[in-house]
C-alpha cells in the first residue's frame, strides 16, 4: 500500500502537469473573479469564502480524470487489480494520493489567495479548517466519479456532470463554515456536518468506487 502511495506521489511530481496545475488553476480562478464582478474590496470580501471554496472545488475536479486514466491506459491498473491488495485499498490509496497532491496544496495556498480577495482576518482560520476538512471528501467522491468513467474515451465532461451534483452537500457546509467564520459567527454546526460528511464518504464510498472499478476492469 505504501509502495503504491509513494509511486503515485512520484508520478504526480515528475510527470508534470499534475502537481502544480491544480494550484495554478486555483490562482487563475481567484484572479479572474475581480475582473468578473468588479474590484470593489467590500464586495470581494463578502464573496471571498464562496469563491475560494468554488475555486478549490473546480481545481480538484480538473485533476480527477488523471487518477485512473494513465494507469488504465498502460495497463498497470489491471496489474494492481490482480495484486494481493484489495480493490478498496487501492481506491483509498489513490484518493489519498490525489488529496495530498491536489487538496493539500489548495488548503495551504488558500490563505494567500484569501489575502488577494481582501478577506477579513477572522475568516482565515475557519477557511483553512473548512478546506482541510472538506477537500478529502472532494477527493474521495471524485475518485468514485473517476472510477465510473475510467473506461470511456471522452469521459472528462461526463465526469464533471456526474461528480458536481455529488459535491453539493460538501460545498454547502464548507462554504457556509467559511462564510460564518468570515462574518464572525459561530461555526460549530457546519464544522460538525462537514466533518460528518467527510468521515462518512471516506468510510463508505471506497466500497462503491471499488465495485465500480471491478465492473470496468471486467
Amino acid at each position: 500500500m505504501i509502495a503504491l502511495l509513494i509511486r503515485d506521489f512520484r508520478l504526480a511530481m515528475r510527470a508534470g502537469g499534475g502537481f502544480g496545475l491544480g494550484l495554478a488553476f486555483f490562482l487563475i480562478v481567484v484572479t479572474l473573479v475581480p475582473f468578473g464582478v468588479g474590484p470593489q474590496s467590500a464586495l470581494l470580501a463578502t464573496i471571498a469564502p464562496g469563491i475560494l471554496w468554488l475555486g478549490a472545488l473546480l481545481s480538484c475536479l480538473l485533476s480527477l480524470d488523471r487518477i485512473f486514466a494513465l494507469d488504465w491506459e498502460d495497463g498497470s491498473l489491471d496489474l494492481l487489480a490482480t495484486s494481493p491488495l484489495p480493490m478498496e485499498a487501492i481506491v483509498t490509496v489513490k484518493a489519498l494520493a490525489h488529496w495530498v497532491t491536489t487538496g493539500l496544496p489548495l488548503v495551504l495556498a488558500a490563505p494567500v489567495f484569501a489575502l488577494l480577495l481582501n478577506m477579513p482576518a477572522a475568516g482565515y482560520q475557519p477557511l483553512v479548517l473548512s478546506l482541510l476538512l472538506g477537500t478529502p471528501a472532494l477527493s474521495v467522491i471524485g475518485t468514485f466519479g473517476a472510477a465510473l468513467t475510467v473506461g470511456l474515451k471522452r469521459g472528462g465532461l461526463l465526469l464533471s456532470l456526474l461528480v458536481l451534483p455529488l459535491y453539493v452537500p460538501t460545498l454547502i457546509f464548507g462554504a457556509e463554515m467559511a462564510r460564518r467564520g468570515a462574518e464572525g459567527f459561530d461555526t460549530t454546526t457546519p464544522l460538525l456536518m462537514l466533518a460528518g460528511i467527510t468521515c462518512g464518504t471516506i468510510a463508505l464510498l471506497p466500497f462503491a468506487s471499488a465495485a465500480v472499478l471491478r465492473v470496468n476492469l471486467r
Binding site: 468514485f144 465510473l148 468513467t149 473506461g151 470511456l152 469521459g155 461526463l158 456532470l161 456526474l162 458536481l164 451534483p165 455529488l166 453539493v168 452537500p169 454547502i172 457546509f173 457556509e176 454546526t189 457546519p190 456536518m193 460528511i197 464510498l205 462503491a208 465495485a211 465500480v212 465492473v215 470496468n216 471486467r218
Partner: protein, 246 residues
C-alpha cells in the same frame, strides 16, 4: 405473498406478454383520470380568494413533483434488484424510468415558476425545495448521460445502478443540506397523511384524481419504454447474428 410469482415477470418474454394485456388498461385509465381530474380541477373548482385562478396549477405541479421523486425511488429499487438478482428487465426499467422522471422534474420546476411569478413576484428563488429539485434534475441528467455513454449493456447497467445508489444518498443529503443553507419561501407540504385536512375538500378530490392520473401515466410510460428497450436489445442481437452469418 408469494414472491416467486413476482420474480416470474423478470423473464422478458413473460414481461412482454403480461404488459401486452395490462398496458392498454393502464394507459386508458391514466388518460381517463387525467382528463377527468384536470377538467374537474380547471373548470369546476372555485377560485381561491387570495390566489385567484393561479391556484389551479396545483393540479399539475403537485402530482408531477410527487412523481419526480417517486421515479427516482423506483429507479433505486430496480437498481437494487439488478445488483442483487441481475434481472435484465429490472435494469431496463430503471433506464426507462429516468427520462420520464426527468421530464416530471422539469414540469414541476416550470409550473412552479409560472405560479411563483404572480404569487411570489419572482420566477425563481434559491429556496430549499426549488434548489433541491434543481439538484435532482442534475442527478437525472448525470444518470441518463452515463447510460448513453457506455456501450456495453451489462457494464452500463452495473455502473448506473451503483451511481443510482450513491446518488440517492447524496440527493437526500443535499435535500437537508440545502434546508440548512437557506430559509424557504415555499409553503409546507400540501399533502401529508398525518394531517386532519391538507387543502380544502373542493381542491382535494380533483387533486387526488390528478395524482392517480400521473401515477398511472408514469406506470404506462415506464412499461412502454421498458418494452421498447427489451425489443431494441433483441433487435440488436438479431442484427448482430445476421451479420455474423453473412
Amino acid at each position: 405473498m408469494n414472491l416467486n410469482t413476482l420474480w416470474a415477470y423478470a423473464n422478458p418474454k413473460k414481461f412482454i406478454q403480461t404488459t401486452d394485456r395490462v398496458l392498454p388498461w393502464v394507459a386508458g385509465l391514466a388518460a381517463l383520470a387525467l382528463v377527468l381530474g384536470l377538467i374537474w380541477g380547471f373548470f369546476f373548482t372555485p377560485e381561491d380568494y387570495r390566489q385567484g385562478s393561479t391556484v389551479k396549477i396545483i393540479y399539475l405541479h403537485v402530482p408531477s413533483a410527487l412523481m419526480a421523486i417517486n421515479a427516482w425511488l423506483m429507479m433505486l429499487v430496480t437498481s437494487l434488484v439488478w445488483i442483487v438478482r441481475r434481472h435484465h428487465v429490472s435494469a431496463l426499467a430503471a433506464r426507462a424510468a429516468a427520462p420520464v422522471g426527468m421530464v416530471m422534474t422539469v414540469i414541476a420546476l416550470i409550473t412552479g415558476a409560472i405560479w411563483g411569478q404572480p404569487m411570489w413576484g419572482t420566477w425563481w428563488a434559491w429556496d430549499p425545495r426549488l434548489t433541491s429539485f434543481l439538484i435532482l434534475f442534475l442527478f437525472y441528467l448525470g444518470y441518463i448521460a452515463l447510460w448513453e455513454a457506455i456501450e456495453n449493456d451489462d457494464t452500463a447497467a452495473d455502473l448506473t445502478s451503483i451511481l443510482c445508489l450513491v446518488g440517492s444518498v447524496f440527493a437526500l443529503l443535499s435535500r437537508y443540506a440545502v434546508n440548512f443553507w437557506n430559509q424557504g419561501l415555499h409553503q409546507g407540504a400540501s399533502l401529508s397523511l398525518d394531517k386532519e385536512e391538507n387543502v380544502a375538500d373542493v381542491f382535494w378530490y380533483p387533486l387526488l384524481v390528478c395524482i392517480a392520473g400521473f401515477v398511472l401515466l408514469f406506470v404506462a410510460l415506464v412499461l412502454l419504454r421498458t418494452r421498447t428497450e427489451i425489443r431494441a436489445r433483441r433487435m440488436r442481437v438479431l442484427l448482430a447474428r445476421e451479420r455474423m452469418g453473412a
